[in-house]
């Protein structure tokens, strides 16, 4: 008897999906804890502590090596006031936004979307080759990607020759552009996979109906497919933004933030401060800023997603 009523209660609480009206108030079940426990343990032990400590480090004067590497202390807002007066920081912030939003969110997502949509109509061998190439691009070690793109954009490299300007240093003339393109190149494979999967979930009946109504391919695309994909587009944009933040090795190896700070995005600047100038405290503060920026961007995405559903 008890079992049956228990399973009835289970059905009542578990089986009803949000956001429908529940039969009783939703409760946190202890069994959820068991499911969550492994991930929770790992995250708390290996993630929360380092992250929390890093956040704290942003307000200390820790050095990687030097008088303050062993004896460092909490310095309150000293790093913050340095931050506000740091002209390089502001430029870095701006460059970061261009990079993660322009290259990450917009360019990569667009590339992935276009390729995924085009793949639907592709000849089999083209499909294998192109998606294979995109995947390989995603999986190459970052150092290799940096070398490849360096080779492709300097004097005599593939792209300057293609554009008919073999003696131009594309990399140093248009550093930010090159680095953005390289970033999109390295992440587009992932975006393609995401969208390929999502496209399979576009109900084919609707597309067939649209075809019968004489809708052109373009109309089918813009009126049906894209709106259905909108949530995926936004989530992919968010994912690509976060991954672009992390794509620091690429820029660091290609230009080290140069020339003259043209590609000095926050992660690169943070590394420079922490591991070249050894000012780990300030570098950690820059890291905190990165989290804030990604948080703001994330909230923006969530807001965009929710406003669309209304």
């Amino acid at each position: 008897m008890a079992e049956i009523s228990q399973s009835m209660r289970n059905i009542a609480t578990e089986a009803l999906p949000e956001p429908q009206v529940r039969l009783d108030k939703p409760r946190f079940k202890p069994s959820s804890l068991i499911l969550l426990l492994p991930a929770l343990l790992l995250l708390v032990a290996l993630f929360v502590y380092p992250v929390g400590y890093s956040i704290y480090l942003g307000f200390t004067n820790l050095q990687l090596i030097g008088p303050n590497s062993v004896n460092y202390r909490f310095t309150g807002l000293q790093n913050v006031s340095f931050l506000f007066s740091d002209a390089i920081f502001y430029r870095s912030l701006w460059l970061t936004l261009i990079f993660v939003v322009g290259s990450g969110a917009i360019a990569t997502t667009l590339l992935g979307l276009i390729i995924a949509i085009a793949l639907q109509k592709a000849l089999p061998f083209i499909r294998t080759i192109v998606s294979g190439l995109a995947i390989v691009a995603w999986t190459l070690p970052p150092a290799a990607i940096a070398i490849i793109w360096y080779a492709a954009t300097t004097q005599g490299g593939v792209f300057p020759v293609m554009f008919g300007l073999p003696h131009t240093d594309l990399l140093y003339d248009q550093a930010m552009l090159v680095v953005c393109v390289a970033n999109a190149w390295s992440l587009a494979g992932l975006a393609t996979i995401i969208f390929s999967a999502a496209l399979r979930n576009v109900p084919s009946e609707m597309l067939e109906a649209a075809m019968l109504e004489n809708a052109s391919a373009y109309q089918r695309l813009s009126r049906l497919t894209i709106p259905i994909l909108k949530p995926t587009i936004l989530t992919s944009a968010l994912l690509m933004t976060l991954l672009s933040f992390g794509n620091f090795t690429l820029i660091y190896l290609m230009t080290q933030g140069g020339p003259a700070g043209d590609t000095n995005i926050l992660p690169v600047y943070s590394y420079l401060q922490g591991f070249q100038f050894k000012k780990l405290g300030y570098a950690a503060l820059l890291g905190n800023v990165i989290v804030l920026v990604s948080g703001v961007l994330g909230v923006a995405y969530v807001w965009m997603a929710q406003s669309r559903r209304k």
């Binding site: 079940k29 492994p38 790992l42 592709a122 593939v158 075809m211 990604s294």
Partner: protein, 290 residues
């Protein structure tokens, strides 16, 4: 005049019982394939250097006709380097298994069960993973040193944890897409949670799990700073760290770097091809951002 592609479609829908397939060359098909060729070129061109340099005896960073040799591949397969590839494999496998299994359990809980503040928790975990790893390395090193974890296995677990937030997100969304009726029915039949997971949820979300697994694998596979700092024995270092053996203050062995990079990409490409089918339908992210 009706659009010829629609006419073709109509022909295709005449009762044959077969699903609609555009068998003839239509405008969109040509356009799509052209676009793909352009994209393919976009991906291929920078890689041309990689392929050329890997078989070039005197590889520099310029794109040129290679002076054919297999010397670079032989160098890249020296015991030290081959061992590093093997270490990468072990690290990434452990990381993937740890991450994906725990992510799956957590994702199921987040998706199906009531967790207070689940939205904010998920999102904040995601954003916090934006902290540059170069900063995190300092407290992590302290911690690992304290517990005597400066070796391969704990490092592998850490690599798994770095992919955990994304993996939870991905799997959660593919679980969200499964209708609840099946699980309800199973509950009514008095199936326990584990059985439901095992018999129903896992098979249906296999694509999502596969895609999260590949993400975790690639994440661990390419990571270089964490193993460099946390693994104390040089013989246990993975591929990306070992690659610096070809670059020193005096000269850079571009050919060997290229060969090594290609070898290094192969396992992931193989993995992708193996999981291709279930993989492509796995990244279901519709409605993920609530």
């Amino acid at each position: 005049m009706a659009n010829p592609s629609i006419m073709a479609d109509l022909h295709a829908t005449l009762p044959t019982g077969k699903p609609i397939q555009l068998k003839r060359w239509t405008g969109t098909k040509i356009f799509s394939n052209l676009v793909l060729l352009v994209m393919g070129a976009f991906f291929l061109l920078p890689m041309l250097w990689l392929f050329a340099a890997s078989v070039d005896n005197s590889a520099g960073w310029q794109l040129k006709i290679p002076d054919l040799t297999d010397r670079n591949y032989i160098q890249a397969l020296q015991p030290d380097y081959a061992n590093a590839l093997f270490n990468s494999l072990i690290l990434s496998l452990i990381a993937t298994i740890v991450a994906t299994s725990t992510a799956f359990l957590a994702a199921y809980a987040f998706s199906r069960q009531h967790i207070p503040w689940k939205g904010p928790i998920l999102l904040s975990i995601l954003f916090l993973s934006g902290i540059p790893i170069s900063i995190l390395i300092v407290p992590i090193y302290k911690m690992f040193n304290y517990f005597n974890w400066l070796s391969m296995f704990p490092t592998a677990i850490l690599l798994g944890v770095t992919a955990l937030p994304f993996e939870i997100y991905l799997i959660k969304n593919s679980i969200d897409a499964i209708p609840l009726d099946l699980e309800e029915a199973a509950s009514i039949e008095k199936a326990g949670t584990w059985k439901i997971l095992h018999r129903i949820v896992i098979p249906l979300t296999m694509p999502g799990i596969a895609s999260a697994a590949i993400f975790g694998f690639v994440n661990a596979w390419g990571n270089f700073l964490i193993p460099l700092v946390l693994i104390s024995k040089a013989a246990q270092q993975p591929g990306p760290v070992r690659m610096f053996g070809f670059m020193n203050s005096v000269a850079i062995n571009y050919g060997a770097i290229a060969a090594f990079s290609i070898l290094y990409s192969l396992p992931v490409v193989v993995l992708y091809l193996l999981m291709a089918r279930s993989f492509r339908s796995g990244f279901v992210l519709g409605g993920a951002v609530r």
